[in-house]
Every structure is written in C-alpha cells, then in structure tokens.
Symmetry: C3
Subunit: 312 residues, 3 copies
C-alpha cells in the first residue's frame, strides 16, 4: 500500500456513517470519484439521487458483475437516561471512547458496561453533558499502521470501500454498489440490484467485505473466498470463482463458516436470480476499535477482484 | 374525542380480525368509507379487490406520503386437544376470555395457562364444547372509557385505523394503506407499496400504530415519534419529520427503543427505496385485553398526522 | 404405488442435491420430463435456464395454480479439521453414514457427535482420507419398502417431487415449480412466482412438501392440509381448499402446528399477492436417514392434488 492508499483509507475511516446515517460518507465517496475518475482507465456513470437514498452505484462499460461494499458501520444510539442501544453488533468493551454530534455540537463520551444482578450487561455512557435522544455514536477514529498490518475501528467495511476504489482505477466493465444498512437490518441492495438487473442484466455479485481470522483463515495467507457463512452461495457459481482464483495466481484462502451474513444474504433472499459470493480479507478483533488486517491480504483482495472482474 | 369518535373506535374493536383473517374488518372499513367519504374534504379512490387480498388503499389527490395502519390483531389458533397456539405475541394471562366462531357457531372460552415441569407454559382453553381445529380466537371486546383514558383489547391497532379515518376527513393529498398480517409474519404491505410507488411515485411512509409506555415515553405527553425500534429509519427522513413536528406545535415525545417492529420493518426489507417512520400514541398493558391509551395522545396523534401529511 | 412408481422415487432419492447444489437433481428431473411428457395428457412448456438458476417450471395449459416442490435436501458442509457444519436442520445422530464427492473422487464417511464440556455437540466426521473444505455431504441412500410404508432419507422432499411428477401425467391447466434452497435460507421461489404472476396471472400456490407425524396427524389417515405452521395461510383461501377437499372424497387430515416453514413462508414474505397452502403426507423420523411415510398418505396426496388442480 502506498502512502496515498493509507491516507485514503484513513480518511474513509474518519467519516462517521452509522447504519441509517450514511449521507456524509456517501458524499465523501462521490466527491472522491468526481475528483479522481479522470485518471481512471474508464470513467464510470454515477447512479445516485433520491431514488437511491444514500446508496450509490458506479457503472463501468458493460457490467456483468457488481461488487457490493457497504459504507455503514456499527455503533450505538443514545437511549433514555444515558443508556446506549446497539446499532449492529459492536463488541461491548468497558471504557471504549465514542464520538458523535447532536444539536449542542460534537461530543465524546466513554462507554460503561455494568453487569446487572441477572447477569445481563447494562450499557451506559459517561460524558461532560447529556446527549439528545437518538444521537448516533461510533468508535473514535484511531488509525495505526505497522510494516505488516493496518489497525483501526471500521476496517469493516471502510477497507472494502477502499478496495473497490482501487479496483475502480482499472475497471473496464463492471459495477460497484456502495450500500447502506448492512450492519443493521440490511437491504438497501435490493433496489440497486434491481436497477442493475433491469438495465444491464447484471446477475453476478461479489461481496467486498471483511471477514474473521479463525482456525481456518489466517493473517497474511491471502484474501478469503467464503464458501459459506450462515448462507450458502450457489455451488456452480462458487466453483467458477474458485477455479478462476486458482488461475489468477493470487494468494487466497477458502473459508467455511457456520455463522455471519452480508449483503449477499440479502441478495439470496431477494426475488432476483443473482449469484453472489463473499470475498474479503480477514481481520482480528472483529467489531471492536482494534480491527486489524494484514497488508498482504489487502493486496491480494485487490488483485483477485481485478482478475475476477475481468474473467467472471 | 366526540361521542361519535368513541362509537367508531368501539365498533372497529368489536370486529374480529386475527392476522390471516381480516376480510370482515376490511369490509367494515370499506363500508364506513363508502358511507362517509361524501362528507370528507376530498373523496378518495378505493383500491382493493382480489389482487390486493384483504388489504385496501385509499388514494387522495396526488399522494407523496402513505400512512400504513394494520387491521389485524393478535390472538390464538385452536390446536389439538384444546391446546392454543399464539397468533402474534399475546401476553398469556390465565383466565382471559376468548371468542371466535366455528362451524357450530360462535363460541366463548377461557384461557388456561398451565406451568409444566420444565418451566414452560402450556396454553389450553376450557369451554362448553370442543372447537374445530384451526379456529381463530381473540380477546373478548371490553371497551372502557374514563375522562382521560380509553381502554380495551386491540387499541393496537384499531386505534391506528381510527386515527387514519379521522385524518381522511380532511386529507387532500396522500394515501392510507390498511394492511394485514402485521402481527404475524408480516408483509401484505410490499404489494401495496409497489402499487403506490409505481403509479404515484410514493416513496414516503408513516406507520400509524400504537407503541409502549416506558421510562422514556409517558401517558399524556403527546404522540411518540419513534427514532428506532429493532430497525432504524433513515436519519435524514427522521430529521425532517422531527423538524416538522417542532414547527407543528403539536405535543410529541421522542422514542428510542431496542426492540419491536412494524410495517416499517417490512418496508425497510423490501426492494423499494421507501422512507418510513413509526408515529403513534403509547399504550400500557401491551398485547393484553387491557390496553390503555391517554385521550390527549390520540388527539396529538391525529393532529401531527394532519400536519405531516400536508407538509412532508 | 406401482413398481415403476417405487423405482422413480428411489432414483429421485439417489441423486445428491444438498441445498445450493441442486444442478444434478434438476437435470435428472428435466430429463425425466423430456422422456415422459409425450405420454402425458398435456405436454408442458419447460421454463429453465440461466435466468432461473437451478430451478425449473413446468407450465401446463392456462395455469391458475402453481405447485411448489423443493428439490434440495439437508446435509452437511465440511469445515476445518474434519468438522461438519449443518446445511438446513439435519438431526445429529452419531454414526450416520454420509456421502459426497470432492476433487479426489467420491467419499463415504461416518458422523461423530462429541458432547463437549459446555454441553454442546461438536460434529466431526471420520473417514479414510481428509476432505476438501466446503465439500457437501448427505445421508447415504438407503431405500426400504414394506406393504404399508416407504422409508428412506430425503422423503422430504423427493417424495413431494415424485408426487408432482405423478400429477403432471394428467394435469391440463397448472404449473409445477421445482424449487431450490428451501432447506437453507430459502427463496428461489420469488423469481419463479414473479414469472408465473406476470406472464400467467398465477396467484394461487400449493406447497407439495412432507410434514410431521404428531399427536394430531397420524400415519395412514390421509394427506395433511396444514392450517398453519410458523406462518398462517390466508383464511379465505384455506377455507376454499378445505371445502374442496371435503367434496373430493379423498382422505385428509387437518394440521395445526406452531413451528416449521416452507416455500409458502417465502411467498408470504414476498411482494406478490399470492395465496399459499401447505398440503403433504406426514412422515416420522423427520430429518433423519429413516424418514418413513405411509403409502396410503402418498396416494391421497396425489389424489387431492389432482382434484385441487382441477377445481381450485
């Protein structure tokens, strides 16, 4: 990763976009595209606007495959009496620093996890002032880089967004969907998938998201192709992808999980005959402020997407 | 609320409509509309028929926003050997009087909750005769009114239906969807939303349903605008609604919940780019025969909907 | 059931088709249709191809009702270090023989269920060689027939597929959908239902699947009409079906369940106004290699479908 790459990733992570409130990060990405597309191999058509809510699609040439990268993050909503309610599935860690903004301006608070008599955790915040009901809070940006690793809140999925922006540089035929709500409730992708299916016949999807380091998927061994999570991609599509990955020469690992889901799960449950497969680098410390990814896995993620978008 | 209002609400509550069996309540509402629409400011188009199952849509003028009010209620199905199976999530209370009808005519039985050795509740009924398999039972109507409160089974959501019929009196541009299945399984609203989106471009929804009195939402403090339940409405839409509510001068409370869902959740998970927000009065004794709502909250619910349907 | 019938059922069961990997069983059924349709009363149009993934539709005459039979089965995915991950909900039985195929060829292994200290079951396999990650395994075919019963893995739902192929012989107006993914994740039926709704106005569905022997549904008492499972079919449609079943003279039982789902649940949650009802023979030893069904219930299942497809 170049210095510029690191800078772009860091900027993507710095912009708040808790699920349901993705307008700022969407604007940032749109501006980035507008500023940089002239240097790309092929200039994409930008599809967005009220009919697309806070999602955005880039269409390059004649797309056969769409890459989905969700822009939203996990976080918390402010409830009553300083209580916090999860958005998505953040790991509750006492002392976590959270940031947000309400009518009184920006705020920074500390998460307090209090074990109750029944064993359940009560989640509250402590801060200098009360916060308005419904204020959305997220992990305070805290980007760290070493020789081999990048570490930060929200690798999931600002790293996926970053990867798609790198692919965009050389993409000739394909679509990139920047989706919303993936971490909580899901389905901003149905409308986008319909648009691409009806207008371009796009019936292949790749899910550019971040997965988990496990006993079967390790740091630095290459991007993970997920053979299943809670859902199973269609076998014939999966087999084609694995075969292409073998031809590509790019490092990759095969993942087999029992749990978890993605924008792919939503496509599976849509009424469209769209094949999907999750392909992404693995991270440790999932859904904490310390998500960490090996740089080589990022590189192989970019390379495999480049190869697949050309050959799939 | 006038004497006539109370009478209408009471009649709406008296008609059985357990989820999956809404044809009678739909016919009642349709007849009410046919009899009263002449006195309304604007006469709506009635959209119903086989293609709409037991749902019904009223279209006034040029609609931008649709109000969704579900007609169905919770209840029980008769299983084998006098067992009862929940429809939706009724609170199981020993001794509750349930009514229904099978081939042998109307019936009235008493619910019996028997704690089993493993701690689970067995739900059965006792009555004068056996009932046919699959018979649907609901709470016996029992309407009570005081100076400040109305109390009855099925405030959720016959009160929401009542509110929409009050809004209908002065509505010039908008749609009202009377939905089914909300309490169990959901999604009669997908088809209705498609109809309104394709024919009128309606992409804004308000969910007229009843919520819960909690530590943050109290009786008599105004209608609740739900900032979230298990799902989160899109922030930019929510912000517009709160801003309008502030301009309206109507009493309202901001709700932030971690659980619960509504027809809004179904719209969220549909393939349509439709914004939604739950706005409704709060009740106590949720999903029991004793649901109770403050009259002032009903008044502010009607007023806020009138304002929003004009300005949103 | 004739000797030929038993042979067909046995062949259907012998072909692997774990959810997500239904291409082989689909090809078998397609070939069966191509070879046999000339002897049928009416030759159907075959709808399949890339736009339909591994599903297939047969359209006879002017269809009003579609029968849905899922082709996929439950099974296991090979995880890391000889672990197995469920596909659908197989009952975990120590010693079960599983079969599959990976790049090294066919394989046969034995399931090992190991109770862990925390009480949870660890599921692994033992075999002569390691298996590739993600390999799909299913119960080894083991067909048994007595005077009154047929017993085998995957009565659910190869028996449903068999029944539809028997109905096909005399069907004049109707559609048969061979669906995928029913056991895991669901929804290959949305696209098929859209096709039939848009092109033929088909808004009635019957779900040809296998249900459970319980205290209320017994072996040999006739096909079960399910009044509900986790979902409730629309009452007016259910009432029409029960009335027709009474006129038909065919043996049937009324089922009322609290749990379970089917392709009907997916239709309920789709955006289409399609009525659905589950009608199928009951089995014992559900989701094991020993699923057992009474032959009389198979006969009444075929007869009731024949009657309903003509009169509904």
């Amino acid at each position: 990763m170049t210095h510029q790459d690191i800078e772009l990733l860091q900027r993507l992570i710095s912009i708040q976009g808790v699920a349901s409130d993705e307008s700022k990060i969407k604007e940032f990405i749109k501006n980035y595209v507008l500023e940089n597309a002239n240097t790309w191999k092929c200039k994409p058509q930008i599809v967005d606007g009220p009919e697309f809510h806070d999602t955005m699609i880039l269409v390059f040439g004649k797309p056969r495959t769409a890459v989905y990268a969700h822009m939203d993050t996990i976080g918390y909503s402010v409830g009553y009496e300083n209580h916090l309610i999860k958005v998505g599935g953040p790991k509750i860690i006492d002392g976590t620093t959270l940031v947000g903004e309400d009518a009184a301006g920006p705020c920074e608070v500390e998460l307090m996890a209090i074990e109750q008599e029944n064993g359940q955790l009560e989640i509250k915040f402590v801060g200098e002032r009360p916060l308005e009901r419904g204020t959305l809070l997220s992990f305070k940006p805290n980007f760290r880089e070493t020789d081999k690793f990048v570490q930060s809140p929200y690798m999931d999925n600002r790293l996926g967004v970053f990867v798609t922006l790198k692919i965009a540089e050389t993409l000739e035929n394909g679509a990139i969907v920047f989706s919303t709500y993936e971490e909580h409730g899901g389905n901003s992708v149905g409308h986008c998938a319909h648009h691409l299916y009806q207008n371009y016949g796009v019936n292949q999807a790749l899910i550019a998201d971040i997965t988990w380091v496990t006993s079967g998927v390790e740091h630095g061994k290459g991007v993970a192709i997920s053979m299943r999570d809670s859902m199973l991609p269609r076998r014939s599509y999966l087999n084609r992808i694995i075969e292409l990955a073998r031809s590509s020469g790019v490092d990759f690992q095969l993942e087999v999980e029992s749990a978890g889901g993605s924008d792919g799960s939503v496509l599976q449950k849509s009424d469209l005959p769209i094949d999907w497969c999750f392909i992404g680098a693995a991270e440790n410390n999932v859904h904490t402020p310390d998500e960490i990814v090996h740089k080589d896995d990022i590189t192989s993620m970019i390379q495999l997407y480049q190869y697949l978008m050309e050959h799939l």
